[in-house]
């Protein structure tokens, strides 16, 4: 089953913060985060491989709560360039290599 992302869409003003959540009914072994701009291919942001792990990239960071089977992506002091659709992906099964994606969260940052 696809992981569930929330919210489905969010509108921000430049400089505001946002959180995107990703949860699964099945055990998560790793979580991927990607961003896709309109008309382009998804681009990799980060992977979290174990529970409790947190990562950051510029002002975008993520956490992974293995017990709760969920991950969150944090966008701090958003910039216009952050606009796009964010996808979380989860690898299914022990040592599985197929990544299943959520339906995406559309983020729009306005000036």
């Amino acid at each position: 089953q696809q992981p569930v992302q929330s919210p489905q869409a969010v509108i921000l003003r430049e400089g505001e913060d946002a959180v995107i959540n990703c949860s699964s009914s099945k055990a998560l072994y790793s979580v991927h985060w990607y961003r896709q701009k309109h008309g382009e291919a998804p681009v990799f942001l980060m992977i979290l491989l174990k529970g409790g792990e947190q990562k950051g990239h510029d002002k975008i960071s993520a956490s992974f709560n293995e017990k709760k089977q969920q991950s969150s992506l944090y966008l701090t002091a958003s910039q216009l360039s952050y606009s796009g659709t964010y996808f979380c992906g989860t690898e299914m099964g022990t040592g599985g290599f197929k990544t299943i994606f959520g339906a995406g969260t559309r983020l729009f940052v306005k000036a």
Binding site: P42, E91, G95, F97, G104
Partner: protein, 112 residues
């Protein structure tokens, strides 16, 4: 140029016709994937491959066929196209488990 390329970028075909979407990568990545993207559904996995001659079904495999005779190529064939297969198709590759996926630029397919 190194990378992952898909062809064609745009394709219009008629219901019932066979159409093949091509995917080629130059990194020698073991894993390759085909996804379709439709509004409201995100990216759904069609088929994937762990290595040459090893393929397996994803979430939505019906109506599609894949092959992988060489590591660098992973074509996707719609044997008899239907309107419900109108979508944007992305090919991706990965070096291994728990590794980032690298996506091609996509093929926009319209079935009339």
């Amino acid at each position: 140029d190194a990378g992952i390329t898909q062809s064609p970028r745009y394709k219009i075909t008629e219901t019932g016709r066979q159409v093949t979407l091509m995917c080629h990568q130059t990194w020698s990545h073991s894993y390759m994937f085909w996804y379709r993207q439709d509004l409201g559904h995100g990216l759904r996995l069609i088929y994937y491959s762990a290595a040459a001659d090893i393929t397996d079904k994803g979430e939505v495999p019906d109506g599609y066929v894949v092959s992988r005779s060489k590591t660098e190529n992973f074509p996707l064939t719609l044997e008899s196209a239907t309107r419900s297969q109108t979508s944007v198709y992305f090919c991706a590759s990965s070096v291994g488990v728990n590794s980032p996926l690298h996506f091609g630029n996509g093929t926009r397919l319209t079935v009339t």
